[in-house]
Symmetry: C2
Subunit: 569 residues, 2 copies
């Protein structure tokens, strides 16, 4: 409690120096600190880049997170748009690439409070994956230049998991050479797409394709939904924000109603199938290709939306546990740091260990995912797709559950102050927990992985080869644990053996059981996030919230860019 | 999806009739419905009262919850004050008593979004418990008439659990016959008291009593903190709202800094101890009495803040699971209700069963609590206090953990829509989970109960009698489960036997293990709460949020009442 904020004007003298309890914990760590930092960053060069990005972001007032807990949802949305446009300008100025590490680090430092996540992360990649070269050449440059903002409209009010049940239709009209799009029932209203509610003027709409009076299943169509001149909804389009959510207030998740909206024939994304001018349907490649975009997104969000939030929560909670003192263990002594209590260690240290395990796990999944992507793109070989699907589904479910639970453990371990938004923890929880639901609901994903495992068990019965990640099912298992003494439990192979044993016993009910958890419990914090709970609380005493101004994000940030696109479309 | 809202103006025709899937579930329940309703309400007369209260509350626009998810925190606070004052007027009008069942039912129907919870639930009871008859006669009528609003200022920025560590001081000055109150360090700032940030003009302040240069531990003092004329902070008082929280936005949790604030000698609550005019300290009754208010509050919140929210979440999630359909189980058939899936049943039915178990458990705890209160008040017999403390601590921790987890299960079982505030579920979670922390942090409470059980085990070793609730530790246990067939697991005594067995094996580590869970799993919903997720979402499409007006709750609702008190104090 010695250092609770610089330049306080209250009745107390406070210092801006580092809290002595924090400082003492930082002296003489039991491992080479910089080596660990480099390992987590992915190499010394990436550490250098991260620090450079931190310097840029932390020194820029537009990116300041100081007042974010006092903004209305509308103000949060406006700020997210402002930041996204500002970041885009910074990137051009500093030469950061779209797929470079700088952007990932910047996103992490800003806590992901940026607009256009679906535009950049799903709309553009979907066109790249499902569009022809001509379609990519037409749409992607406009999108990357923010002359159009797009969303990905798949989920409907009454349909999420069961994609075949989507009710939106796209019917080909040969007389006009166009498609007519409709959301025919309330349950078919597009619901949840990010960037849709207030920002997007285009959408990739997933709809049942009808031609020659036959349904050919779900296909993707680019639909303009708002005017490029005045941002009003186009005729036949009803559109808006879906209202208040548990978190993600800065994202304008939206709804979309389409009534006889006509789009030109060339707006169907045509890389894998097309409709001829006389209405014949031609399939150009295999069925499952539409699902790849979803798998890619699922893998991407594991690190950024699940593991990073847990690591931030660990940093905040561990730092607080060093500063907060409670109860004299011996009468007359100073109260003890709460981190020195076993109960607090039993809460927090497993969460810290988990961030390390999941960090390396998600890295190896990303590597595998990139391999599969190359196989498909360069050789047309999709044989690893079922394994990637099962691994990404099972790991997404496992990691999102564990990270959500872990953030809550960290939050509650900070007592009452963990309930204050100023601790940073409530927002981490309400946001990370969304990952249990989006990009595949966890129960459904677990069943998908289970189905893959059952198929593998059938292969064993037939003596067929197994995918690499489940090859252990062919390996012999020991019937007894080979640990002889306490220290043996620090050896990862003991765990691998046990997991194998369990998988064999359970006949591989869950792939999660069979994975290798690196067993590291480190006593120190790993980042530089906003964990000074006391300082934030005390700063709050010095000032009042300001939440007045109205939010014209479109007028301020988007209008001039959108007008550029008008002449080109 | 057939009925998603009355009088919709969108492109779809919707009906206001009851959803046919809901209607079909309601036909022919497998048990006498009204009998269950009466049992849960506490008798047919209470059912009648509840329905009458629902009629009053639901028919009153001030109590309408329609726009509550679109209000800013300031607007939520203003509405909570408006409702509290309006309810107080209604009560006088309708003859509802402070301690009558009507108020409990009204609170439940409004989801607890009322101001003055600490004023009514803690400030007044604390004066009643710790004040002399003269003090009660002076303060309680003013408080009950809302001429003063009080808070209970115990927790400090750096001290919650460890009460002996509280740093606020009250020093007796015999020359002035008054106490001087100080919060000498940042860590001693009073932090969290409800109703403090914007409403209260008085506080029961818990402070270390100093007289004749000796500390006599924590005592309670009534301190005026704001002017009764213009609501400004009094000299030496710094006061405000603690800022944004995970929920409870309608409550003005506050901070309080005291610098040499003098209060008259008679403002120390004197029932159990006092300071003479020459500064001698006199203890009039036993030490633990200050803790009784906390135990009483802890017991009270179990039903209203834990069990009721879980029951509401069950109603919302079960109702949604009947309306939401997903996947054709047979090709061409209608998609199945998600409640018909085993995975959904495995999520929701245990939560429903838990609400019944906890409902009866909290009722019996309340009965026991009232007995102990009478014993203490009428006979001065506090021998059951340790048992009440252990039971209430252990049950509070068990029930708040399980209800929080259960509400989250219900929320996630509703998929994406469970993430929309319009489902009612996010707010139920962010609010119920606070109960794991307030009124005794759960880990600390579990350790308190464990300590009680260890003491009981020591008594067994000495052959001493045990308190009634742990007398099973003396009873013989069977070594094998006596269940022979499936249906035996419907018999509660099987569970009691097993719990006993486990308690004996674990040497009573946790009292939770030893309790009797009634084993009822009922397939029907139990109330009439806002669970029409689709309807809410669809209504939202029809209109935009309104959150403009500024909030002068004091000017509008409180000023005239406070001025009444000025002449009397």
């Amino acid at each position: 409690m010695a250092a609770v904020g610089a330049a306080a004007k209250g009745p107390y003298k406070v210092q801006s120096a580092i809290n002595p309890d924090i400082a003492s914990e930082r002296t003489a760590p039991g491992f080479p600190l910089e080596k660990l930092v480099n390992l987590l960053d992915g190499g010394a060069e990436r550490t250098r880049i991260r620090r450079a990005v931190e310097h840029v972001v932390n020194g820029d007032t537009v990116f300041s997170r100081e007042n974010e807990y006092f903004l209305t949802p509308t103000e949060q949305y406006e700020l997210a748009v402002k930041r996204a446009v500002h970041l885009w300008q910074k990137m051009k100025e500093l030469g950061w690439m779209d797929d470079g590490p700088e952007l990932q680090f910047a996103y992490r430092i800003m806590g992901g409070n940026l607009a256009f996540g679906v535009h950049n992360g799903v709309f553009i990649p979907t066109i790249t994956e499902l569009g022809t070269d001509a379609q990519i050449a037409k749409w992607v440059p406009l999108a990357k230049d923010y002359q159009i903002i797009g969303t990905y409209a798949q989920t409907e009010l009454g349909h999420g998991t069961y994609l075949r049940g989507l009710e939106t239709t796209a019917s080909f009209d040969p007389s006009n050479q166009d498609f007519i799009l409709n959301t025919p029932k309330p349950s078919s209203i597009k619901w949840w797409p990010g960037d849709l509610g207030r920002s997007a003027n285009h959408a990739v709409v997933l709809a049942q394709l009808y031609t020659q009076e036959k349904c050919h299943g779900m296909h993707a169509f680019i639909v303009q939904i708002r005017s490029l001149l005045d941002h009003s909804a186009l005729p036949g389009v009803k559109i808006g924000d879906i209202g208040p959510k548990m978190a993600f207030e800065h994202v304008d998740n939206g709804y979309l109603i389409l009534q006889n909206v006509r789009i030109p024939k060339e707006n169907m994304l045509n890389r894998h199938s097309e409709v001829t001018s006389d209405g014949r349907y031609i399939k150009k490649s295999f069925d499952k290709i539409n699902y790849i975009a979803m798998v890619l997104t699922r893998v991407k969000v594991i690190a950024s939306e699940m593991v990073i939030p847990l690591s931030k929560a660990c940093v905040i909670a561990l730092r607080y546990s060093v500063v907060r003192r409670q109860s004299e263990l011996k009468p007359g002594e100073m109260e003890a740091k709460i981190l020195d209590y076993q109960t607090q260690q039993q809460k927090l240290l497993p969460q810290l260990a988990t961030t390390f395990a999941f960090h390396f796990m998600s890295s190896s999944l990303e590597t595998f995912c990139n391999q599969v992507k190359v196989q498909i793109k360069s050789k047309g070989d999709a044989s690893s797709l079922p394994e990637l699907h099962a691994l990404s589904a099972g790991l997404k479910a496992l990691i999102s559950d564990a990270c959500s639970a872990g953030v809550e453990v960290c939050r509650r371990a900070c007592g009452g102050h963990g309930y204050s938004k100023l601790s940073g923890l409530p927002s981490l929880y309400t946001r990370v927990v969304a990952s249990c639901t989006y990009e595949g609901e966890n129960t459904v994903l677990q069943l998908q992985t289970a189905r893959f495992l059952i198929k593998c068990l059938n292969k064993i019965d037939c003596g067929e080869p197994l995918p690499q990640s489940v090859s252990y099912l062919y390996e012999p298992v020991t019937s007894h644990c080979s640990a002889k003494e306490k220290s043996d439990f620090l050896k990862p192979f003991i765990y691998i053996e046990s997991y194998k044993h369990r998988a064999h016993r359970k006949k591989a009910i869950s792939i999660a059981d069979a994975l290798d958890y690196p067993d590291k419990q480190l006593n120190s914090a790993i980042g530089n996030y906003d964990g000074y709970v006391y300082q934030r609380l005390f700063e709050w005493v010095q000032k009042a919230p300001t939440n007045a101004k109205e939010n014209p994000a479109y007028e301020k940030y988007l209008k001039p860019r959108f007008r550029l696109a008008q002449s080109k479309l």
